[in-house]
Symmetry: C2
């Protein structure tokens, strides 16, 4: 079974791979690749575990493959890097079908190929009872030109690339309805239209990694600090604050909350603001920019996104993440979803 | 717990890391490292899963950490590469103690540091009920100078860096006696001395990756084909044969079987030849060399190993791995331990 699975992945990955930087691909003790001159390497790795990060009741294999790629691509984007080579660790439990792996692999490769990434190695092991999927991405960034979490400065403005909280709402809906084959149907009586349901659920199943945006921000040189929103901004902003030794203030009325989320949060019984601040896995890009560079950077981001990015607050002295509301202020440092994965 | 665990790993890994090639380590969206000019990158990744690859009844955490490193270091060695940066994926099940992770991390780092490898990233996730450990190693090799599985030629001689079958015997002994705290005691009545038990068990718990040897063979240029013995040479030689489109003949009487193995195999009720041919995880290096280059290469290997390497057979036309015994010949292609991991 495992040898068949590797042969399948090898075939789907197009081995021998056409990418001229890949000198040895799947099928030797190591992969061998040729890095570009004038670049540093960026490397990231993330794992998804069945019943912790996903449930096959509502996650189809194709989307699972795409998401395995997307969570890692998102980290590469948050460094402003160009992801290039991927490595897959599969822990396969009993009861998985060929069809599942076929679809999973196609989904994974579809997302990787959008960014020119070649799958060049990995391993498969047996797992006693839960599926586990790790992907490691190696990428490149021009020497010294990466985005980090550690260069935010007081008075910098905080920007976000898209609506927040939708992925968390989508997950709630998926857990509630558990419809794997047709999760996108509208629900009579709930007041949730098919379009809204599809949109929110898709934010969880098929998040859009902000790779191109991160690359543009890094190349421009006017932005030096960014992170992707995986644990909710209350926590992800706290990471920036900790690494940069600053504080942050965000305004409740500036949170990017979509009408779709507004409508749905009432039905779910969770406030849309809470979802936006603490909901994980939106995979939007969060960056800070000096007031001087703001107009230019906003233009660059708007061109790539197709809409204006959201200014949600600013960097201040201190070490806390503070939420400002019409009722006053609240410390939300590390109040994001106590997430089930921790990238390090 | 997981945040504590990362802080612990970070502290033990010595972050900020002194290695000048490490520009961003644990604590950002990606690690950033500076590769050397004139090198290609080699990358390998392997996973160990509890109850499949190891059992905490007999595997102490320190050795588990060392082995997690060693299985990957061994692959880097088999390419003739210099491993440099490591990434760890931990799937942590309930019930693990701080002390366990402390010891595991120290073991892992002890093996990595022997080869100058810095641990610079990874992730931790919760696992429902079984521990899972993946390590990814990135290394370097002078441009074009790697060892592969695909350049063996008829009439090449096949060499092996050490005794075979001992790790498999060690595993049998561990499973039989399951003594985690003191697996090294002699057993009255079995006829196995403490020294023999310790030696065999240690081959399974703490295999020696042949990194320095692989590097020397690659640098010399007289060897181009190698593999590490993870699935038993019946299978690992078959990999070389498949990738190089050749066959191999090995002689039963030339198999490197130690006296320790001879003595123990009788007690275990498995023939020492079977253990040597099909037992996994010896992590010895297997290489092929032309007859012309043999004397020089043998000298280089002997200098590093401290003993003469073992010539076990030769490459021939065809596509099978054939065992020659005093009784005749036997096809042993892919007859290695149908192993529980498959590197790809």
């Amino acid at each position: 079974m495992e040898r068949d699975l590797i042969a399948k992945i090898q075939r789907l990955a197009g081995v021998p791979i056409r990418d001229p930087s890949v000198l040895v691909s799947i099928g030797d003790d190591c992969a061998v690749v040729a890095p570009s001159p004038d670049c540093h390497l960026i490397i990231t790795t993330d794992t998804l575990v069945e019943s912790i990060h996903f449930d096959l009741d509502y996650f189809d294999p194709w989307h699972l493959g795409r998401k395995t790629a997307a969570v890692n691509l998102s980290d590469a984007g948050a460094m402003g890097g160009h992801p290039r080579w991927a490595f897959l660790n599969l822990a396969v439990r009993p009861g998985m079908t060929d069809r599942f792996w076929d679809s999973f692999s196609k989904g994974l490769l579809s997302r990787l190929s959008e960014y020119g990434v070649s799958l060049v190695g990995g391993d498969t092991v047996s797992a006693p009872n839960k599926l586990s999927l790790s992907l490691t991405l190696i990428g490149e960034v021009k020497k010294g030109k990466w985005l980090s979490r550690s260069r935010a400065q007081p008075d910098d403005l905080i920007y976000c690339s898209g609506n927040l909280g939708e992925a968390a709402a989508g997950l709630e809906l998926l857990r509630k309805y558990k419809e794997r084959r047709s999760p996108f149907k509208g629900r009579k009586g709930t007041g949730i239209s098919r379009a809204v349901l599809k949109r929110l659920v898709n934010r969880h199943l098929d998040p859009e990694p902000r790779v191109t945006l991160g690359q543009a921000l890094a190349a421009n040189g006017m932005v030096q600090t960014a992170i992707d929103v995986s644990d909710g901004i209350a926590t992800d902003l706290a990471h920036i604050c900790k690494n940069s030794r600053v504080g942050a203030e965000v305004r409740a009325r500036e949170m990017p909350v979509s009408r779709a989320l507004e409508r749905t949060s009432g039905i779910l019984g969770i406030s849309s603001l809470d979802l936006a601040l603490t909901g994980g896995e939106d995979f939007e890009l969060l960056w800070t920019v000096s007031q001087k560079n703001e107009p230019e950077v906003r233009k660059i981001a708007a061109k790539i996104l197709g809409y204006r990015p959201f200014r949600i607050g600013k960097i201040v002295q201190g070490n806390r993440v503070i939420l400002k509301t019409s009722q006053g202020t609240k410390d939300i440092t590390y109040q994001g979803y106590e997430h089930y994965f921790r990238h390090f």
